[in-house]
Amino acid sequence: MASVNRRVLPGFSLTLGFTVFYLSLLVLFPISACFFKAGSLSFEEFWKAVWTERARAAYVLTFGAALIAAVVNTLLGLLIAWVLVRYTFPGKKLVDSLIDLPLALPTAVGGLVYASLYVEKGWLGQFLVPLGIHGAYSRFAIVLVLVFVGLPFVVRTVQPILEDLDPEAEEAGASLGGTRWQTFRYVILPTLYPALITGFALAFARGVGEYGSVVFVSGNMPYKTEIAPILIVARLEEFAYSEATAIAVVLLGVSFSMLVLINLLERWSMRHER
């Protein structure tokens, strides 16, 4: 008996096939090449490549800075999205389009500008460096540029959800006796969790992978301000290709497991959607 196709739109097998093919070509294939290359090392060689003191410092810095920047971006992004959705003010359209600029700008340009602003003789640095705030060639500088490149993600994920919020739910919160803070904390914020977590994950992933801007602001001092991607480039310059890919594999593994974790968290935050 012929099975009846009950889908409204045809082409499930075609689109799925294309998706799998496309993902394989763009993501899976390069990544497995990476694993394959790293696999040419023995376990001991692999361990020696990825677990040096210098590499460990780079991992901690990479993930630590990305994490801090993502947290900052989550808070700031929520604030900016809130202002853009809830209030009207002159120049709102302009501010709204400025948000996406870090995506369009070559991050290297961002890094160069930040560095020149915060160095001892820079426009901002001349005031900040005497106060002990080093916004260039320091770990703080890395966080600063990662906040810059990760800015659009939380704003753009939270904004549409905020726009679609049911004003009646807030009125219900108020008429049930809640203060404004309680209404925000218990009624509004929980409905934003999924979007906030998605935005956090995007900003975090972007921070881990960022190279172009960091290379200009960090100073790239081993053990101090050297992030893992720069370490990989350093290994490549020594023609130690397998060692470089080994570090990349570690980065991939950690990133992947963190993204899985974030995904689980997101699913938990959406438990009421069935």
Binding site: D166, E168, A169, E171, A172, G173, A174, S175, L176, G177, G178, T179, Q182, Y186, V187, P190, T191, Y193, R271, H272, E273, R274
Partner: protein
């Protein structure tokens, strides 16, 4: 007097939603605000709740001026048309919210939630999320949530508007019974006259930002104060009559003018409800209107007739089924209909 609204006016841009409205809500009553959309009924409800601020006028609760109190200080239970339940909270968390934000002890909240779940007959569903409930169940949860913190008054905005007919009928009887049990002063907004007449003790008929009439369902139905109320509550036949020598003429049939219609008027309007006609196949002196049956619908306890009169107007008539069978009426028959009750309004009223 539980709630007193005095001279409240509210405009939205050029639109006047409420035009100098005053209203008294007696303690323990169940009052319906009835009117077409745009009549200002929801705005009035929201002003009482503190969700909207009046441009001028005052709102009092038991002699206390609450005009400038915020919604959260008014201790008013508000039920929204589309429920406005918190989607990320369970049924129990929704119901308990009003107590939680007032820092009630956990044990007390749990006890009150259980009590209310029993009242709305949703025991066992406290761990569900609103997305997992039917429309009627959601509306009951919204009601329980509004009742949890013992509000001074209960306000409901088109509480059954989004439900299908059967659930609606069931829920409004349930609301009526609930009100009898709780005796809490309640106001609800509706555009459904049947709902207002069936559920409320008092009906406030609103039109274009003004109150047309306040009264018991019986009063507003049988003694409408204005042509608008007459039209809005139930079906009605309207005849434009000329006035000559103290008599009004419906077509060529003279009827006695009541005292309140000026003898000098040239014309008047007569309203007759479809069920307030006697029907005969033979002429009855000079008191009946003559016409031909154009259409008849015998399904149901009353038979609905459309009679085309001699002068061209269509008269809607409703007669009991027995009468229809006794007369053996057919489409095309000539009939004589005699009005048993009429309402006169001068022509200077506008609808």
């Amino acid at each position: 007097m539980s709630i007193l609204v005095k001279n409240v006016t509210k405009t939205f841009g050029n639109f006047t939603a409420l035009d100098n409205v005053s209203l008294e809500v007696p303690d323990g009553s169940l009052l319906a605000l009835l009117g077409p959309s745009g009549s200002g009924k929801t705005t009035l409800l929201r002003i009482i709740a503190g969700l909207e601020v009046a441009d001028s006028g005052t709102v009092l609760h038991r002699e206390e001026d609450i005009t400038h109190q915020s919604a959260r200080d008014r201790k008013v239970g508000f039920v929204f048309q589309h429920y406005a339940l918190f989607r990320h909270m369970t049924v129990a968390q929704n119901i308990g919210y009003g107590l939680r934000v007032r820092q009630a002890p956990k044990a007390k909240i749990r006890a009150r939630v259980e009590e209310l779940l029993k009242l709305i007959r949703l025991e066992g569903l406290e761990a569900r999320y609103p997305g997992q409930l039917s429309g009627g169940q959601r509306q009951r949860v919204a009601l329980a949530r509004a009742l949890a913190a013992q509000p001074r008054v209960l306000l409901l905005d088109e509480p059954f508007g989004a439900l299908d007919a059967n659930v609606r009928r069931e829920l409004r009887q349930w609301l009526r019974n609930l009100h009898n049990t709780l005796q809490m002063t309640s106001l609800f907004v509706t555009h459904d006259q049947e709902e207002a007449l069936e559920v409320a003790d008092r009906v406030v008929v609103m039109n274009e930002g003004r109150i047309e009439q306040v009264g018991t369902p019986n009063e507003v139905y049988h003694n409408p104060a204005s042509p608008f109320v007459h039209h809005f509550l139930g079906n009605v036949n309207l005849f434009h009559c000329r006035v000559e020598e103290g008599m009004a003429y419906i077509g060529n049939t003279p009827v006695q003018l009541p005292a309140h219609v000026s003898r000098d008027a040239k014309t008047t309007r007569v309203y007759i409800r479809p069920h307030l006609f006697e029907i005969e196949k033979t002429p009855d002196g000079n008191k009946s209107l003559h016409g031909t049956i154009k259409h008849l619908n015998p399904a149901g306890p009353v038979v609905k007739l459309e009679v085309t009169s001699d002068w061209g107007d269509t008269i809607n008539v409703e007669i009991p089924n027995e009468r229809y069978r006794a007369l053996q009426l057919q489409k095309g028959d000539e009939v004589y209909v005699r009005p048993k009750e009429m309402k006169f309004f001068s022509d200077d009223y506008s609808i």
